[in-house]
């Protein structure tokens, strides 16, 4: 009798645990699919048609947006990646019905859209309608960087991000602002203290960790998964741009403090030099951008940006850096065509290349080429009369966008290390007497050019 009892209990136990185990496995799978959707996206995406919550939420959102006459465009990197693969087909049949839900049904937490600030009127009505439709929404506002550089203007805070949440899906709407320098800017996403940190898993957002700078995109209206959306005309170049979009704001507060200590030179000469340097930099940027050569602010120009958000009036030239791998033989003729004749050329492509162009009235444009070493990056210098070579070492850096005298340009993201390498720890103190051979703190003697090469490596016009 005992034995029978035991067996029955055993059977019951086994049954229960089996059921429980199955439940857990099912749940774990569900959990996994949420966590790393990619693995399951294909399975679910190709499942019968358009049943995913995501698709419905996106459709609802697009309906909401169009009912208020607001234009948004899709910038979700995962979808754009998929779209990019089929771009030809999508372009050729912009209105065709799609047989399956390919793009908007992959289960994700977010879909990301962009909104151009100047195309909408900040109407409160949008949010009331959104609420009526069942959306929960969150607005992230912050200071207006366009007024940041200004003495003591306190504007209203501007919206940088919106998040609309419905059921398990959220729409991340990134607000893009046009800024001086003809580019688009979006802000970082920072939560204020009282905000709901659990509203959505913020760390998974594709935009908002840093501010970003973008070119104004050309848009293409398409219909994907039977939803009409606008996408960047060239998704792959948008994605490429996105990967290098980090933007640094100039340190306006520090610049103001600097000018408190060292009042700005307001003499007519300084005004004139700044004007010339600005137009020279604009011209150089135009020329290099047309050639597709990536460049950044270097030396004194970079210091001016970092320390005082303006051109240092006593610097007398404009300095740019270019990686030697981006060197193109067309650079010299292109500058000549732009009205900037070559002034001198030191070194050669293999070693210590440096070009100088003559701008208007003695303002010189220096382009230093940077070589990558094991654990550092360096550029070279040459003394014309002695043939001596110098080497300037910098810690490795990456490039970020910034705005400088109404221009979107690159600067090293690790600007402080870059400036300190070049100018030492006292870079905050203006120095009028600067000797490029001995003043920099990162200069190294690098031998002498062989005399038979002098004609090639020391060219002065």
């Amino acid at each position: 009798m005992q034995k029978i009892n035991k067996n029955v209990v055993l059977a019951l136990l086994s049954l229960t645990s089996l059921v429980f185990l199955l439940f857990q496995l099912y749940y774990y799978r569900f959990y996994l699919s949420h966590k790393s959707g990619a693995a399951f996206s294909k399975v679910r995406g190709s499942q019968s048609g358009q049943d995913s919550t995501r698709w419905h939420v996106v459709r609802k959102f697009l309906g909401l947006i169009s009912s208020h006459n607001i234009q948004v465009y899709l910038i979700d990197p995962f979808i754009l990646e998929l779209v990019d693969k089929d771009i030809e087909q999508i372009r050729s049949s912009p209105d065709g019905p799609s047989p399956e839900c390919k793009y908007f049904c992959a289960p994700r937490d977010f879909t990301t859209f962009a909104l151009l600030d100047k195309t909408w009127k900040h109407e409160g009505g949008l949010f009331r309608t959104a609420e009526k439709m069942g959306f929960q929404w969150l607005k992230i506002i912050n200071k207006d960087p366009r007024l940041d550089g200004m003495d003591d203007l306190s504007g209203i805070e501007i919206p940088l991000h919106y998040i609309f949440k419905l059921a398990s899906h959220a729409i991340h709407l990134v607000v893009f602002y046009e800024r001086s320098g003809n580019y688009l800017w979006h802000g970082p996403l920072r939560l204020k203290q009282h905000m709901d940190r659990k509203f959505v898993p913020f760390r998974k957002l594709h935009f908002g960790r840093y501010p970003g700078a973008y070119e104004k995109p050309e848009l293409l209206p398409v219909s994907i998964d039977d939803l009409k959306v606008q996408i960047p005309k060239n998704p792959s170049s948008f994605l490429e741009e996105m990967s290098h979009s980090r933007f640094l704001e100039c340190r306006y507060r520090e610049a103001r403090a600097f000018f408190q200590l060292y009042p700005d030179d307001a003499s007519l000469d300084a005004v004139e030099f700044r004007k010339k340097a600005k137009s020279l930099l604009h011209l150089a940027a135009l020329t290099l951008n047309n050639l597709g050569v990536k460049f950044w602010l270097s030396s004194g120009t970079c210091l001016g940006w970092y320390r005082q958000c303006s051109v240092i009036p006593h610097s007398k030239d404009v300095d740019l850096g270019v990686f030697i791998r981006d060197y193109k033989a067309d650079i010299i003729p292109a500058f000549q065509k732009a009205g900037l004749p070559l002034k001198h050329k030191f070194g050669k492509v293999e070693d210590s290349l440096e070009l100088s162009f003559q701008g208007e009235d003695d303002v010189k444009l220096d382009i230093f080429f940077f070589y990558e070493g094991e654990d550092h990056i360096w550029n070279g210098g040459t003394q014309a009369k002695s043939g001596k070579k110098f080497k300037y070492l910098f810690p490795k850096f990456t490039l970020c966008w910034t705005e400088f005298i109404e221009l979107k340009v690159h600067v090293p993201c690790e600007t402080l290390q870059y400036v300190e390498a070049n100018y030492g720890p006292d870079w905050k103190v203006p120095v009028k007497m600067w000797d490029w051979k001995s003043s920099p703190s990162n200069v190294q003697y690098n031998g002498v050019w062989p005399v038979d090469e002098w004609d090639d490596v020391i060219q002065i016009y």
Binding site: N7, L21, N142, L153, S154, K192, Q193, R209
Partner: protein
């Protein structure tokens, strides 16, 4: 369990027999039993493992989330919680009001809401309006009723205050000299017993509810002309009403929400806060066809004159072709009330920490505003610059839309301005006519971005230079011989009486009679002929057609110009060299037009209207148009009056018209 305990004695039921048999078999097969046991243990193990993994994963995810959101997404700035005033349920306010020669103050529940003991300032009647439900200050005004017309402003203000509000009055120094009967009667109707008998240098305080009870009044008579009345201190209690009673019940729309916010904070804006049929705050004027200035940003430069700003924005938002999206109001200082006005109209406003003093402060505010405008609208090639004390003509944007291409194409232009310095009621006639002038009138003008960014911004006067921005812009170093386009009939009207360089006398003498266009959709007629060379041809044509007036008559006399209409007349005055404006100034004086400095000239030529005839004045021999003078005509010379008289009725005010 019991029920199916097998009973060996009894015969098993047939139904269960197969089951029991199977069980016996199982029991006997040990191996099978072992298998089952292991299976169960295995299940158990797997379950436990899956469970643990699940828990670990969840915890890690949660941890990471917190970590990351804490690191990357936290705003570094601490959100400073605004301390809210504890909502007092008190039903009674203690009010203290003090009036004396050199000091006034008002304290509500121990908090000083007004204190003025500055010398040479704040003379007249101070008025404070309190919300009858909350006790908050809704308006603070001072009317210098020692000076003319200020009492009219006070009556206007008091009439605009809603019924039920609490009004507090106190006099500093002197408040009766120009306090006329109308104003005294209004004060009497509020319940004041003393007001009708207020006289020279009396001290007076009064607290009452508009349209209701009187809470207290005190008065001290001045014993003699040369002395002031004794200081008076009034202490009284005011009973608060419920919030419900103090508010209007407008339908719940976005506009009304803005209205409600505004009306519960400030007072003195009249019908915009009426419970019944309030004035609209959205205007929807007709759009312009082919509007070339729809995307041009509009910068409104404002100080702390919220009533002016209110009037100005109303007229601006009513102008045809206005684009509210492009309007930004720049407020010089952290003033709340102007910002409330801006928000009432749903516009965007920016406040500016004041830098420097007086004229330099205005100048720095201008610079910051202009720079910010071009930062906020980086696409813009132009900006419209307006001030808070201007009425904007209904066809302001139409006027600009028709002329703005000139500013883009003609390098010799400095600006387009909506203001004609010489366009008075009796000297302006043709709304479709434009001029080129060598001066920069301001008062509603268009600035080219390239001019600002390349030339003006880099060398804008620094804060320590106490310069007027407009005088600086008029200097030859800046203007470089370029000209501005102006209309014959101004598209803006300067209504400001209070201001840095402004007072009642001055306004009446120079601004009140200014002509202002009220006709919509005026088609401008000579736009193309305003280009540099075309304008010369035009002038020569005009001079060719013009009839020379009789130079033997006195040009100040009305009969100097015949009683005709639509004719062109020319007169010649003496002007030895380019900067010799002796005769012109005298002529301007007797014509009652702008004579404080030279305005509206183009190469020694002035164009205006007299008796509906176009009237040209040419300075000989400095003007290149002198050649048109018939040799028989002697240019008129007018002698400046002797110095003593010259200082006359008009107070010497430099640089006149801005703010």
């Amino acid at each position: 369990m019991d029920e199916w305990k097998p009973n060996p004695a009894a015969k098993p039921h047939k139904k269960r027999s197969w089951y029991l048999a199977w069980k016996y078999k199982l029991m006997n097969q040990r191996a099978l039993r072992k298998l089952c046991q292991t299976g169960a243990v295995l299940f158990l193990l797997v379950t436990v493992i899956v469970n643990i993994k699940l828990i670990l994963d969840t915890r890690r995810a949660a941890y990471e989330e917190e970590e990351e959101s804490a690191q990357d997404y936290d705003d570094e700035m601490l959100n400073v919680e605004v301390l809210r005033h504890p909502v007092s349920n008190k039903k009674v306010l203690d009010v203290e009001v003090y009036s004396s020669r050199s000091k006034v103050y008002v304290a509500v529940d121990g908090t000083t809401v007004l204190e003025d003991e500055a010398r040479e300032q704040g003379r007249g009647i101070h008025v404070i309006v309190l919300n009858q439900a909350t006790g908050h200050v809704m308006a603070k005004r001072v009317f210098d009723t020692y000076s003319p017309h200020e009492d009219e402003a006070m009556v206007l203000f008091l009439n605009m205050v809603a019924r039920g509000r609490i009004l507090i009055f106190t006099i500093k120094d002197e408040g009766s000299f120009h306090l006329k009967d109308t104003a005294k009667n209004v004060l009497k109707s509020l319940g004041s017993q003393v007001a009708p008998f207020l006289s020279w240098r009396d001290m007076w305080t009064f607290v009452g509810k508009k349209g209701g009870e009187v809470y207290g009044e005190k008065h001290a008579k001045s014993p003699a002309l040369s002395t002031w009345g004794d200081p008076v201190l009034l202490k009284t209690e005011v009973h608060l009403t419920s919030v419900e009673d103090a508010e209007c019940h407008w339908p719940d729309t976005e506009l009304n929400r803005r209205r409600k916010r505004f009306c519960s904070k400030v007072e003195g804006y009249g019908s915009v806060c009426s419970c019944k049929d309030p004035t609209p705050i959205e205007f929807n004027p007709d759009p312009l066809k082919d509007n070339k200035v729809f995307d041009v940003p509009v910068a409104v430069i404002a100080g702390n004159r919220p009533n002016y700003l209110y009037r100005m924005l109303r007229s601006l938002l009513s102008a045809q072709g206005v684009n509210p999206q492009m309007i930004t109001v720049f407020i010089d200082g952290y003033y709340e009330e102007p910002m409330d006005v801006v928000e009432l109209f749903g516009l965007s406003g920016i406040q500016h920490t004041p830098i420097s003093i007086k004229n330099a402060r205005v100048s720095q505010h201008y610079k910051a505003s202009l720079t910010a405008t071009f930062n906020l609208f980086p696409d813009a090639k132009f900006a419209v610059v307006l001030e808070e004390d201007l009425d904007i003509s209904v066809d302001f944007f139409s006027f600009l839309s028709q002329s703005i291409h000139l500013l883009e194409e003609d390098e010799s232009l400095y600006c387009i301005s909506a203001w004609n310095d010489q366009g008075y009621e009796h000297t302006a006639e043709d709304p479709s006519l434009l001029y080129r002038v060598e001066t920069m009138p301001g008062l509603g003008w268009v600035l080219r971005k390239s001019l600002y960014k390349d030339e003006l911004e880099p060398k804008w006067p620094t804060p320590e230079k106490l310069w007027d921005w407009d005088m600086w812009m008029r200097m030859p170093e800046q203007r470089k011989g370029r000209e501005c386009i102006i209309p014959d009939i101004s598209r803006s009207y300067h209504f400001g009486i209070v201001g840095l360089n402004m007072n009642g006398y001055f306004h009446e003498a120079y601004f009140k009679k200014h002509k202002f266009n009220t006709v919509p959709n005026v088609q401008l007629k000579n736009v193309e002929s305003l280009r540099k060379d075309a304008y010369e041809t035009e002038i020569h044509r005009l001079l060719g057609e013009a009839e020379v007036l009789d130079h033997s008559k006195n040009p100040c006399e009305d009969s100097f110009v015949p009683d005709t209409e639509g004719r062109i007349y020319v007169m010649f005055i003496r002007m030895e060299q380019e900067a010799d404006f002796t005769t012109w100034t005298q002529l301007a004086k007797c014509l009652h037009i702008w004579d404080l400095d030279v305005r509206g000239n183009h190469k020694g030529l002035w164009r205006l209207f007299r008796k509906k005839n176009h009237f040209l004045v040419v300075g000989v021999p400095a003007s290149p148009y002198s050649s048109k003078k018939p040799s028989s005509v002697t240019p008129i010379y007018m002698e400046p009056p002797a110095k003593e008289e010259g200082a006359g009725a008009v107070p010497a005010v430099p640089a006149a018209e801005q703010t």
